[in-house]
Symmetry: C2
Subunit: 415 residues, 2 copies
């Protein structure tokens, strides 16, 4: 038992050092089919874990039907449902492709994705462009208004952002995140300052676009303070990917929920997902909604917290506290608990209110299983029925069973 621990500690040191060394840069915006590994034209990538088309329910079902229609994989909602059930539209977990799908969002071949590159390893990660809140495919809603916006994003916004990023030689994501933590963002459900900084960096290049392009681009970004979340998710993917594949390491390197199940991957356990039924978040509901409306958690954004941001940096974002049903005491308690189950303080991502202490980063699944303390995720809550969208913000956690199963597998492998 002691030897096991020493080997695990050594492996975890290696894994977390790689996580902390990650240097994410936003370098391009490209059609997913050009850049996401293994993304076939008839595929839709969604939040982990993988799920069969016939089993998809709730908000993700509406989202996948919408994605199929938007991508032209089906001519009607009925066709899309049939193709999903038959498997002619193939589903995949974005995190199995180095990509991320926040919320009920999805990635299809023609959809533009943010390309975030790790300057240390050259590894890349991807996330779709955040549409904003309201009626949006990321919330599983699809209609003419949604499609019009998606078409404009694909045909106008994405190429303009890509040209701007090429002109600028990319944008230093780590620097934005570090400063955004000093400006009240936690980089999951509050990205207002980070988005504002990104706009400032892109502005000189976007300014070179014709007014018919730059006008709507500036207006879209100004009205979308969550735009940076896609960058944050891709950066989290890169950081955790950097720590993946270290034999013996108990570092959580992937996590997501698909509205039905939640699952995690572990650095030393290859590509296996350790799965359990997803929990329903609790939080603060928009007017007219309550707990009975809430669906199980959905989104790859769980990974943001496990990379040290989101609720793991909740002390940085007091403006978010009332929205998720927290306060200073809760934010401090989450921080305190996390330090018992994480492997390091991030040297770059610091929280002024915590005496500039680094955010707790890198979940040790063995410690979670042993202590019963789980990571806390702040999350947009969606309606349990397809097409009803968002109903509030709340807090949730990956189920204990995910960690117990992973810990069991780790012990079996290391023994």
């Amino acid at each position: 038992m002691h030897e096991t621990t020493a080997r695990t500690d050594e492996a975890n040191r290696t894994a977390i050092e790689r996580v902390l060394a990650s240097e994410p840069w936003l370098v391009a915006v490209k059609p997913a089919g050009e850049v996401v590994p293994g993304l076939a034209p008839n595929m839709i990538l969604h939040a982990a874990p993988p799920i069969a088309g016939a089993e998809v329910a709730g908000v993700l079902r509406g989202a996948l039907v919408g994605a199929a229609l938007s991508e032209g994989l089906a001519a009607s909602a009925e066709d899309a449902e049939a193709a999903l059930a038959a498997g002619t539209i193939v589903l995949g977990a974005a995190q199995d492709h180095g990509a991320m799908a926040g919320g009920a969002g999805s990635i299809t071949a023609s959809a533009p994705v943010l390309v975030v590159e790790d300057r240390v390893s050259g590894r890349r990660a991807f996330h779709f462009l955040m549409e904003g809140f309201g009626r949006a495919l990321v919330l599983g809603m699809y209609d003419e208004e949604v499609e019009r916006r998606l078409t404009w994003m694909r045909d106008e916004l994405a190429p303009a952002l890509d040209r701007a990023l090429r002109e600028l030689g990319g944008v230093d994501v780590r620097a934005i995140i570090a400063e955004a933590l000093r400006r009240g963002d936690e980089l999951h459900n509050r990205n207002a300052a980070a988005t504002s900084m990104l706009v400032g960096l892109l502005a000189p290049a976007i300014a070179g676009e014709p007014v018919a392009i730059r006008g709507p681009v500036f207006a879209f970004l100004a009205g979308n303070p969550q735009f940076f979340v896609g960058v944050s998710l891709a950066a989290a993917r890169l950081a955790l990917d950097a720590g993946h594949g270290v034999e013996g390491s108990s570092l959580l390197t992937a996590v997501g929920a698909n509205g039905r199940e939640c699952a995690i991957k572990v650095s030393g356990l290859g590509e296996a997902w350790f799965t359990a039924p997803a929990e329903v978040p609790a939080g603060v509901y928009f007017d007219g909604h309550g707990p009975a409306d809430a669906g199980a958690a959905i989104g790859d954004s769980f990974a943001v917290e496990c990379a040290g941001l989101g609720a793991s940096a909740l002390c940085a974002a007091p403006a978010l506290w009332p929205l998720v049903g927290a306060d200073e005491a809760r934010a401090r308690a989450i921080d305190h608990d996390l330090r018992r189950i994480t492997l390091a303080e991030h040297p770059r991502y610091r929280v002024p209110m915590l005496d500039d202490g680094g955010v707790p980063t890198g979940i040790d699944v063995l410690r979670v299983a042993q202590l019963g303390i789980r990571p806390v995720i702040d999350i947009a809550m969606t309606h349990r029925e397809p097409g009803r969208g968002m109903i509030g913000f709340g807090l949730t956690s990956p189920p204990a069973a995910c960690f117990e199963r992973a810990a069991h597998a780790l012990r079996a492998r290391v023994a």
Copy 2:
């Protein structure tokens, strides 16, 4: 005594309601000579209170010589010194002209000023364009590098900003300040988020400028996270001006320090300045500097705190705490104390960490005199000798004697 109090309370209610109702919009950037009332071509406006040219010392002396040279009021430093001593260059307190001069900065006829307009009253207030830190006239330093930047600001930056503001129909300053408080600014020595938001709002219009103009403009703003401070000071002037001139009111409506004396005005006491020797701030010194280097406080920015921002909102800006030698306990203590000497909580300017409570706004000079609790100002500390610039950030207060003298005059007038 009781009757006096009742009359004062009524007058103070009137005064503070006007302060809180102020709706500042940034509407233009113009040469000061075109817009600042009573600004003659041979004048230099500086931080209050008024001071005779022969008496000017320390950092302000270097700053006024620099301003005289930059404005072409003197051919050499010696000429400038002589003209200041002789009174052929006329000095004035910016706050006596509806304007503000932060730090050792000054306003001359050809220098561009931000024009901030109160949508309620149509009243206007003005502040020069913040050059940034380092070698800058605002810190009393003047050389070829400083002059080159000022020339570019006058000839390129100011007209471009003015065109942008005209195209946009102005910018809602109150909305920026309210959101910046949620993004870690206190709007005096931390304006990073507000500046970033301002850039985002201006960007679509600046984008229409030729690349030779917009390129340097975007670069300048990106490198100058304190740029918004001029807007904040002008907005503070507007808010306090709105409450000025209410018979019987003990509301502080102007305050500044000129590196030698500090002074305040009171709503019910007309244009009289109540003056006392300025205190030397204490705080955190840059490497190589210490308390012996520090000059007495300087700048009209004291008014920011008295309008509810700056150190009055220090709980909003944890990233600033270590820079001024504070921490959460100190920030909370300042807030707690201020609530005993202020007339209201601001309904729009709220601090997430304080359960979204409004900032304590409007200093009651009678309560200050009675309780011995003074407003706290977070301030850039300058060297005691001319031309040596900034040596750190710290905290200070207007001297107790200012309040005692004003309280005495109030009691005499009301009795």
